[in-house]
C-alpha cells in the first residue's frame, strides 16, 4: 500500500489531477472563512460585469457571483463525494456478493446490474427527484449514489470472481476462515486499487449528475451548486443578456474538477493496470 502510494507520487498525471483538486478544495474551504458574507444576499444590480468589488460580477438577483461560485464548488464537490461513497459502497457490496458467492446469487445480481446499466440512470434520477418535495443536497447526493452503482458492481464482480479461484483464497477456505474474513483479507486488498479508481470516477460522474439535474431545475433546494448557478443563468437568460460571467466560470469549474478527477484516475490506471502501459 505504501509502495503503491510512492509510485503514485511519481505519476505526473496523478499529481497534476490531485494538485488541481486540492488547490480548488482549499480555495473553496478557506475563502468563505475570510469573506463571511451570505452568498444569497443581494448586494448589487442584476448582471453587473466583473469589477474590483465583484470579481465575477453579479447574477440576475444582484448577488456576488464569486462568492456564489465558492459555495457552489463546495456543494458540488460534497455532493460528488457523498454520491461517490454511496455508489462505490453499493457497487462493492453487490459486486463482492455476486463474484464471491457465485451460482444463483451471481446470476440474479448480474442480471439486475445489467438491467440497471441499460436503463439510463438519469431517468431514474429525474423520476425520484420529481417525486421528492424537500430535496437537501444530502438527499440529492444519496439519490445520485443509489442510481449509479451498476458500473462499479460489474467491475468488482469481474475482479472478485477471478480472485475467488486463486490459491491463496483456497488456502484460506481450507484453513476454515469465515467468509467475511476471507473477503476482507484475501479479496479486498487485491481489488483495493480498482475500488479507489471507481470511487474517483463515481465522484466525477456524481458532480456531473448533480449539475445535470440542477440544470433541469431538479437540484437541491436552499443551497448553491454549480448546476444551480447555471440553471439560474439559463432561466433568467444570462446568455442573451451577454452576462458570460454568470455561467462560464461555473461551467469551467465543473470541467476543471472533473478533469482533475479523470487525471487522477488515468494516472492510477496506468500504474495499476499494466496492460495499457504504453
Amino acid at each position: 500500500m505504501k509502495n503503491s502510494f510512492n509510485i503514485l507520487i511519481k505519476s505526473p498525471k496523478f499529481m497534476l489531477g490531485a494538485g488541481i483538486f486540492i488547490v480548488m478544495l482549499a480555495l473553496v474551504l478557506i475563502f468563505p472563512m475570510i469573506n463571511r458574507k451570505d452568498p444569497l444576499e443581494m448586494i448589487a444590480l442584476a448582471f453587473q460585469p466583473p469589477s474590483s468589488q465583484l470579481w465575477l460580477g453579479s447574477d440576475n438577483f444582484g448577488r456576488d457571483l464569486f462568492l456564489e461560485l465558492m459555495y457552489g464548488i463546495q456543494t458540488s464537490i460534497r455532493v460528488g463525494l457523498i454520491a461517490g461513497v454511496f455508489a462505490t459502497a453499493i457497487g462493492l457490496i453487490i459486486g463482492l456478493a455476486s463474484g464471491y458467492i457465485g451460482g444463483i446469487v451471481d446470476n440474479l445480481l448480474t442480471s439486475i446490474t445489467n438491467i440497471f446499466i441499460v436503463i439510463p440512470s438519469f431517468i431514474i434520477l429525474i423520476l425520484i427527484s420529481v417525486s421528492i418535495n424537500s430535496r437537501s443536497s444530502l438527499v440529492t447526493a444519496i439519490i445520485i449514489g443509489i442510481t449509479s452503482w451498476p458500473w462499479t458492481a460489474r467491475a468488482v464482480r469481474a475482479q472478485t470472481s477471478s480472485l475467488r479461484n486463486r490459491d491463496h483464497v483456497h488456502i484460506a477456505k481450507i484453513s476454515g476462515h469465515s467468509t467475511p474474513r476471507i473477503i476482507v483479507f484475501e479479496i479486498l486488498p487485491y481489488i483495493a486499487s480498482y475500488v479507489v479508481m471507481a470511487f474517483v470516477l463515481q465522484t466525477a460522474s456524481g458532480i456531473l449528475s448533480e449539475a445535470s439535474i440542477s440544470m433541469l431545475g431538479l437540484g437541491p433546494y436552499n443551497t448553491i451548486s454549480l448546476g444551480i448557478i447555471m440553471n439560474w443563468a439559463l432561466v433568467f437568460e444570462a446568455p442573451v443578456a451577454g452576462a458570460w460571467w454568470a455561467f462560464i466560470p461555473a461551467a469551467l469549474s465543473i470541467a476543471l474538477i472533473t478533469f482533475s478527477l479523470y487525471m487522477m484516475n488515468t494516472g492510477m490506471d496506468e500504474i495499476f493496470n499494466p496492460k495499457i502501459r504504453s
Binding site: I115, V130, M215, A233, A251, I276
Partner: protein, 336 residues
C-alpha cells in the same frame, strides 16, 4: 437452433425484462411518496392557476385517465393499457393537448440532432483514438490530454460556451430554436437552410464531447490490441504493418460498439440538456418546460420515451454486434 438465434432470443428476453422494469419504475417511483402523491402534484401545479374551472377540469381529466381513486395495482393496469393504446394522458401545462402529440412533434427534432451527432462523434473519436495509439509520440501526447479534457467538460458546459462564443459574441449562428420563428415549416431551401443553421451548434457541441470519450476508449483498446500476441506472430510471418494495423483497428473497434451501446444512455441524457441550452424544440426542452410547470403527465411521458429509445438503441447495437464479432459467436457456442 443455431448459436446466433440463441444469442438473439436470450438478448430479446433480457431486454423484455428490462422493458417491464423500466415501465414499472416510471409508474411506481413517482407514486411511492407518502400520502396521495399524484393528487399532491396536481394540487401543486394548480397553485399557479387562478381559473378554478380549469383546475377542476385538469384534475378530473387526470383522475379519469389514470384512475387515481382506484387501488395502485388497478392504476398500474390502466397505465399499461393506456400505453398499449398509445395514450400517455393529457398535458397539464398545455391543456388539453395530448402528451403523445407533444412528444410526436418533438421526436423528429431530437432524433435529427442526436443520431447524426452521436454517430459522427463516435466515428471521429474512434479514428482519432486509433491514430493516437498507433502513431504514439507527439501525436498521442497532444490528442490524449485534449481528449481527456474535452471528455471532462459536461455536454451542456460546452454547449453554453459555444452558444456564448459563436451565437452571441460572433453572431455566426442563431441563439435558440430549431428554425426562425417567423418561418412556417415547409420544404423550401430557405427553411431547410434555417434548420441547418440552428442545427449546427447543438450538433457540434454533442459531437465534440462524444469524440473526447470515444477517443480515450479507442486509444486504450488499441494499445491493448497492439500488444496482443497475434500482432507479433503476424509480423514474424512477414505480414506488412498496414495490414496488421487493419487487424488491430478492427479488433479494437468491435468492442467500441458495445461501448457505444452502454454509453448511449449517458449521451442521450447529455444531449437532452444540450437541447435545453439552445432551446432546441426536442424532448429535452419539453422535459425542461414540463419540470418547471410541474406538468406531471408530460414529465412521465418524456422519461418513458427516453428510457424506451435507449433500450431500443441498446438492443439494436447488441444484435448487430453479435452478428459481426466472431468472438461473441464463439462465446455463445461455448455456452451450449
Amino acid at each position: 437452433m443455431n448459436a446466433y438465434a440463441k444469442y438473439f432470443v436470450k438478448k430479446l428476453f433480457w431486454y423484455l425484462v428490462t422493458l417491464v422494469i423500466a415501465v414499472s419504475l416510471n409508474f411506481f417511483l413517482p407514486r411511492m411518496i407518502e400520502g396521495n402523491p399524484v393528487a399532491m402534484i396536481v394540487s401543486q401545479m394548480t397553485k399557479g392557476m387562478t381559473d378554478s374551472d380549469t383546475i377542476k377540469r385538469v384534475y378530473e381529466t387526470f383522475i379519469q385517465e389514470f384512475g387515481v381513486d382506484k387501488p395502485l395495482w388497478q392504476q398500474f393496469l390502466i397505465y399499461v393499457q393506456n400505453l398499449f393504446t398509445g395514450n400517455l394522458g393529457t398535458s397539464f401545462g398545455l391543456y388539453p393537448k395530448k402528451v403523445t402529440d407533444i412528444l410526436a412533434s418533438a421526436v423528429p427534432w431530437t432524433i435529427g440532432l442526436q443520431l447524426p451527432a452521436i454517430l459522427v462523434g463516435w466515428i471521429l473519436g474512434n479514428v482519432l483514438g486509433a491514430v493516437a495509439a498507433y502513431k504514439k509520440g507527439v501525436f498521442d501526447k497532444v490528442i490524449f490530454p485534449v481528449a481527456l479534457f474535452v471528455n471532462s467538460i459536461p455536454f451542456f458546459t460546452l454547449a453554453i460556451i459555444m452558444l456564448y462564443v459563436f451565437a452571441l459574441t460572433l453572431g455566426w449562428f442563431p441563439l435558440s430554436g430549431g428554425y426562425d420563428f417567423q418561418m412556417i415549416p415547409q420544404l423550401s431551401f430557405e427553411f431547410i437552410g434555417s434548420v441547418i443553421r440552428h442545427h449546427t451548434l447543438p450538433f457540434l457541441s454533442i459531437v465534440l464531447v462524444t469524440i473526447g470519450g470515444q477517443a480515450i476508449g479507442m486509444r486504450e483498446m488499441s494499445i491493448y490490441e497492439l500488444n496482443a500476441d497475434y500482432v507479433l506472430y503476424s509480423k514474424l510471418l512477414g505480414i506488412r504493418d498496414s495490414r496488421i494495423s487493419r487487424y488491430v483497428f478492427r479488433n479494437a473497434m468491435l468492442p467500441q460498439i458495445t461501448g457505444l451501446a452502454l454509453s448511449i444512455g449517458t449521451m442521450v441524457g447529455g444531449s437532452l440538456i444540450c437541447e435545453i441550452v439552445f432551446s432546441y424544440p426536442g424532448i429535452g426542452t419539453w422535459l425542461f418546460t414540463a419540470i418547471r410547470q410541474l406538468d406531471y403527465p408530460l414529465i412521465s411521458g418524456c422519461t418513458l420515451l427516453i428510457a424506451l429509445s435507449v433500450l431500443l438503441a441498446n438492443f439494436t447495437i447488441d444484435i448487430i454486434y453479435g452478428f459481426i464479432d466472431p468472438r461473441i459467436k464463439a462465446s455463445q457456442m461455448e455456452d451450449q
